[in-house]
Structures are given as structure tokens and as C-alpha cells.
């Protein structure tokens, strides 16, 4: 009976009211951002050198962090999805730790290991003269640390969803494990890797806590967009709003892309 089914269903007020409040809670701050934006002076503000510098640094570090995550995360995801070994559950749990860890704690931990007096940092300093904290490379490291779990989880999910019997078919045709990985597994999970990379990039772009703790807040070198927003808020609210708007536009664009290309297709 389509006619009666199309009749508006009665929604209990006890559910409807909190639902609408929740929606307002999510949308209102964003609307506030748009309402308070200094639209008239926007072009000039966008062209300010420190805004452009922060934006350029953010895009650069987020992209480098994503590349680093792909390099390390895809093999890690493959290991978790395809190789049975003792302690696999533990490794999987460890991988997800940065997801729930407050980023500031991550920054402190990075500092303890990669700092000048840290276990790895000391060695890097003495052997190669490389210092990571408070450098652009440090920003990339901090962002990658926080964003890597997003990539690993997305790619591992894609690998588990992909039929491993294609890899068996490849083996019977003479392909070794590496060739099978590059010629069969990677093409099969390419959409999953792309989705993971976008999530990873978005997370790296918004990274604040670990970055400010491990890399500090030096304009042009380690001051990314989120850091610039925080700093601007204390001196010039309008500048903070402009910077926030840019981040909002980038985030929404990514979400739209992700929906259309991967979420929608699946």
C-alpha cells in the first residue's frame, strides 16, 4: 500500500527534539563562521604572506606525511591482512593506539624518542647531524604519526574485502608474492588505498597537538594552518576566521570528493 506508506510517519518528540538539537549543534558553529567572516576584506586577507605561507606549509607537510604513510602503511596493512603470525592481534591494537591517544601525548612521546636527547634522535644527531624537532621534517613526522592509523585501517579493510583467491590464481600462473602484490593485489585495492590516503591527508592537514608539541610554532617553518588559526585567535579574530574558512573549504571539498568517488560507488 504505497499511499499509506507515503503518509508522514509520526516521530516521537522525545527523539525528534534531541535529534534537531544535535543537528543544530553541528551546523550552527559552521554557520557562525560563515556569518562572521569578513567577506569584504577577504581577498586582501587571503593574499597576506603569512596566510599563504601557512597554507603552503600545510599542504606540503600533509602531502609528504601522506606519502610517508603510504610507504609504511600499505605494507603494514598487507602484513596484518595477509600474513598469519603470532601477536597479530596485538600489532593491530598497537597500530590503532594513535587514534585514541591525545595528539599532545603523541607529540611528547615523539619528542622523547626523536628529540635531541631521545633514543633515536641522539643517534640521528650524532651519526648524520639530523635534527627533527622544531623543523618542517618534524611537522611531517608528527602528522604522519597521527594519520598513519587511518591509512592502515582503511587499506587493511580493503585488503580483507578483496578476494585473496585472485592472489592464488596469480601464483598458479607463476607470479611470486611481490609480483602478485604489485600486479594483482594493489590494483584490486586501489580504491581503498585512495580513500585511505584522502582520510590520512585530511587528518594530517588538521593536525595540531602533536605538531605544536614536537615541531613548535615557527612561521614559515613549522606553523601550519591549524597553528596559525590558534595564534591568530589571540591577536586578530578576523584573521583566525579567514584561516578557518580555508580549512573548512578544503575539508568539505575532500568530503564531497570522497562521497562521490568511493563511498557512493561502494
Amino acid at each position: 500500500m504505497p499511499a499509506s506508506r507515503r503518509r508522514r510517519q509520526r516521530v516521537p518528540a522525545a527523539l525528534l527534539v534531541p535529534a534537531l538539537l544535535g543537528l543544530a549543534f553541528l551546523v550552527l558553529p559552521l554557520a557562525g563562521l560563515l556569518i562572521r567572516a569578513p567577506w569584504a576584506t577577504l581577498p586582501q586577507r587571503l593574499a597576506e604572506p603569512h596566510v599563504l605561507a601557512a597554507l603552503r606549509l600545510s599542504l606540503l607537510t600533509a602531502t609528504l606525511a601522506t606519502a610517508l604513510c603510504l610507504l609504511l602503511g600499505v605494507p603494514l596493512a598487507w602484513l596484518l591482512a595477509r600474513v598469519e603470525f603470532r601477536g597479530r592481534g596485538l600489532v593491530r591494537a598497537l597500530v590503532t593506539v594513535p587514534l585514541v591517544l591525545p595528539p599532545v601525548v603523541g607529540g611528547v612521546a615523539l619528542l622523547l624518542v626523536f628529540g635531541r636527547r631521545g633514543i633515536v634522535g641522539q643517534w640521528l644527531d650524532q651519526a648524520f647531524g639530523i635534527t627533527l624537532p622544531f623543523t618542517t621534517a618534524g611537522v611531517v613526522l608528527a602528522e604522519a604519526f597521527v594519520a598513519l592509523p587511518f591509512l592502515v585501517i582503511a587499506v587493511e579493510g580493503a585488503l580483507r574485502g578483496a578476494d585473496a583467491r585472485y592472489e592464488e590464481a596469480a601464483a598458479t600462473l607463476g607470479a611470486g608474492r611481490w609480483t602478485t602484490f604489485t600486479h594483482v593485489t594493489l590494483p584490486l585495492v586501489a580504491p581503498g588505498i585512495a580513500a585511505g590516503a584522502v582520510l590520512c591527508w585530511a587528518r594530517a592537514l588538521g593536525e595540531f597537538g602533536a605538531t605544536i608539541t614536537f615541531a613548535g610554532n615557527f612561521p614559515g617553518r613549522t606553523q601550519t594552518m591549524p597553528l596559525a588559526v590558534y595564534l591568530a585567535l589571540e591577536r586578530d579574530v578576523e584573521a583566525a576566521i579567514v584561516l578557518s574558512l580555508i580549512l573548512l573549504v578544503v575539508s568539505v571539498t575532500i568530503l564531497a570528493t570522497l562521497r562521490d568517488r568511493w563511498v557512493g560507488a561502494a
Partner: protein, 343 residues
């Protein structure tokens, strides 16, 4: 003998333990019910299933410890597993490429194989654009393109509809006949096995219960599964000359035997009567009708009683006898219609 193997896979509750030998050019069908271990055996031959014991020798080569990519095999999987991101041509070229053939040459080889299976015009298509029958032929071309010395096929026709199956079966038979290496085919369809294979190996519950050419296996089944497969009534009993004692019935048989024997007869050899028949010597027993099914142009009557048996009667005869489940009838089989052979 080209392939000489003993395959043992122990999974606790289930144990596969079969010996399998195949001559060059020979096609052997592993036939058996679902869960008998046929596919496990095939995967063990391919190196995809680790073995607990046994050996696999192909000619003078010992394959037992080799990973699948180093075995001279070709596999056609049940659902083909064509790589979805590659064209039909590149699917077939994949094997030659992995065997060190250069790209252009591998593609030429692949096109040649696609031509042989009649799909040269579909070379650029992706697997999802191919019909079931076409995908099956691409899978066969892909497996043959590496010139395997051992060709393995897992239920190669199971995924096809009845019409496509008929054409594809004939085509597959042509290619299997032309294949110079050993071929092992897994199927649960007796027709596929009879048409495609030179020899049948019946696997039940992880063991080989019977093997031989189609004529022997169909004429002298040794298990209920095989008997049902070829449509025979099969009993095991003790023979003294022309008489075979079953649990609840003694049958007169034509063949003279002594000791443990199988007795087999066709359902069409069973005649049904409303009254106890008299006259020529034959085996007669009272039976209860347990079920009636269509069977081709006739009706197949399932009989309960001292022995479970199937009888084929014409619809006219069934109407005349007023056959219905639960009714008691007299079943009769002439001694000359039975076949007794040592168990």
C-alpha cells in the same frame, strides 16, 4: 606415468588421503559428493593447500616442496577468478609474462590462445563484460597459455546455465583432448566426468572408493553414491553359486559367485504387480511405495521393504496399478537382469 602423487591433508575431523596417478595426455576426473575432499586434493596438487604427508611427482620432477608459482601447472578455478582490472587479453598474457616472455610476445601468445577458444574479438573486454561461457573460455586459455604439464580444473562448468554448459562442455572436451600434459578435473556432475574424462576416480569422505574407466564404474558401482550417480540399485551380500543372501532377502542371480559380492540391477528391470505374480523364475518381494518422482518419460517409484529399491514404470502402468505412496505392491526382478560381482 606422468603424475604420481599421494595427497594427505589432515584437518582433524576430516582427513584426505588419496593416491592419484595420471598418464601423459590422460584426463582423470575426481568425482564425488560435496565435501568429499576433491577440491582440497586439487588445491594440494596446485600447491595452494599444504600437505601433511605424501608426495607429488611430475615426470622426473618432485613438486612436493615447490610453491605454486614454481609448479608447471595451469588451473581453471570454479568461478574462473579472472583479474577484474585486466582485459581478457592481459589476463591470458599474465602467465607468459610471469614466465619471462616479453610483453609484445606474451600478448601475441595470448591473442593466439583467445583465437583458439574463439574469443579473439573479445580480447579488449574486461571480465565483467564477458558472459559466463566466455569467461570460462578465457580462464581455460589463461591456464593453457603457460603450457602446463599438469592442467587442473575445479568444477569448470558448474557456474554455467544448462544451455551454455552443453556447448562449453563440447568445446572443453576438444581442448582437453588436444592437451598433451596430464589433466585432473574435479566435478560432482557425472555427465561432465563421463564426457570429459578418460578415467574416473571416485572420492568419498577423503578416500578413493573406486576408480576405472567410465564403462567399468557405471557397470559395477561399489558404493551407494556411485550407484545413485549411474542410476542403479546396488546391494551387498554373500553369494553361494547363483544365490545371494542380503540382510532380509535372498536374490537369484545370473552370475555364479562365491563370498562377498555386489548385486546391481537397473530400475527399469524392476516390474511392479498388484497381485503376487507367478510363472517364470524371478525374485519377488512385497514392497511399500515410499515415493514417486518423474524420471524422464517414466515415473521412478521409490520402494521400501526388505530392500530399498527404485523401479521405473510408464505413467500408463502407474495409472493402471493405481500407484500411490503407502500402497503395497509386488516387485519382481528376473535373475538375468541382475549383475553380481565380487566386493
Amino acid at each position: 606415468m606422468m603424475l604420481d602423487s599421494r595427497l594427505v591433508v589432515d584437518r582433524g575431523a576430516f582427513r584426505l588421503d588419496i593416491a592419484l596417478s595420471v598418464a601423459p595426455g590422460e584426463v582423470v576426473a575426481l568425482l564425488g559428493p560435496n565435501g568429499a575432499g576433491k577440491t582440497t586434493a586439487l588445491r594440494a596438487l596446485a600447491g595452494l593447500q599444504p600437505m601433511d604427508e605424501g608426495h607429488i611427482r611430475l615426470g622426473t620432477d618432485d613438486l612436493t616442496a615447490l610453491p605454486p608459482e614454481r609448479r608447471p601447472i595451469g588451473v581453471v578455478f570454479q568461478d574462473y577468478l579472472l583479474f577484474p582490472h585486466l582485459s581478457a587479453l592481459d589476463n591470458v598474457a599474465f602467465g607468459p609474462r610471469r614466465h619471462g616472455v616479453r610483453r609484445q610476445e606474451a600478448r601475441a601468445t595470448a591473442l593466439d590462445w583467445l583465437t583458439r577458444v574463439g574469443l579473439a574479438d573479445q580480447a579488449a573486454k574486461r571480465p565483467r563484460q564477458l558472459s559466463g561461457g566466455q569467461a570460462q573460455r578465457v580462464a581455460l586459455a589463461r591456464a593453457l597459455a603457460v603450457h602446463p604439464r599438469l592442467l587442473l580444473l575445479d568444477e569448470p562448468l558448474a557456474a554455467l546455465d544448462a544451455r551454455t554448459r552443453l556447448d562449453t562442455r563440447a568445446e572443453l572436451q576438444r581442448h582437453l583432448t588436444a592437451h598433451p600434459g596430464a589433466t585432473v578435473l574435479v566435478t560432482h556432475d557425472p555427465l561432465d566426468a563421463l564426457v570429459l574424462a578418460d578415467r574416473l576416480v571416485i572420492v568419498e569422505d577423503g578416500r578413493v572408493v573406486q576408480e576405472g574407466d567410465a564403462a567399468t564404474v557405471t557397470a559395477r558401482p561399489r558404493t551407494d553414491y556411485v550407484a545413485r550417480l549411474v542410476g542403479l540399485n546396488l546391494y551387498r551380500g554373500r553369494a553361494h553359486g547363483h544365490r545371494v543372501t542380503l540382510n532380509n532377502l535372498t536374490l537369484s542371480v545370473d552370475d555364479q559367485q562365491d563370498g562377498e559380492v555386489f548385486v546391481a540391477f537397473r530400475p527399469s528391470a524392476v516390474a511392479l504387480y498388484a497381485e503376487k505374480p507367478t510363472g517364470s523364475p524371478r525374485n519377488i518381494w512385497a514392497a511399500t511405495i515410499a515415493g514417486i518422482q518423474r524420471h524422464g518419460d517414466n515415473l521412478r517409484i521409490e520402494l521400501a521393504g526388505p530392500i530399498a529399491a527404485a523401479a521405473d514404470v510408464t505413467p500408463a502402468a502407474a495409472a493402471q496399478l493405481d500407484l500411490a505412496p503407502g500402497r503395497t505392491v509386488w516387485a519382481a526382478v528376473k535373475a538375468t537382469e541382475t549383475h553380481a560381482y565380487p566386493a
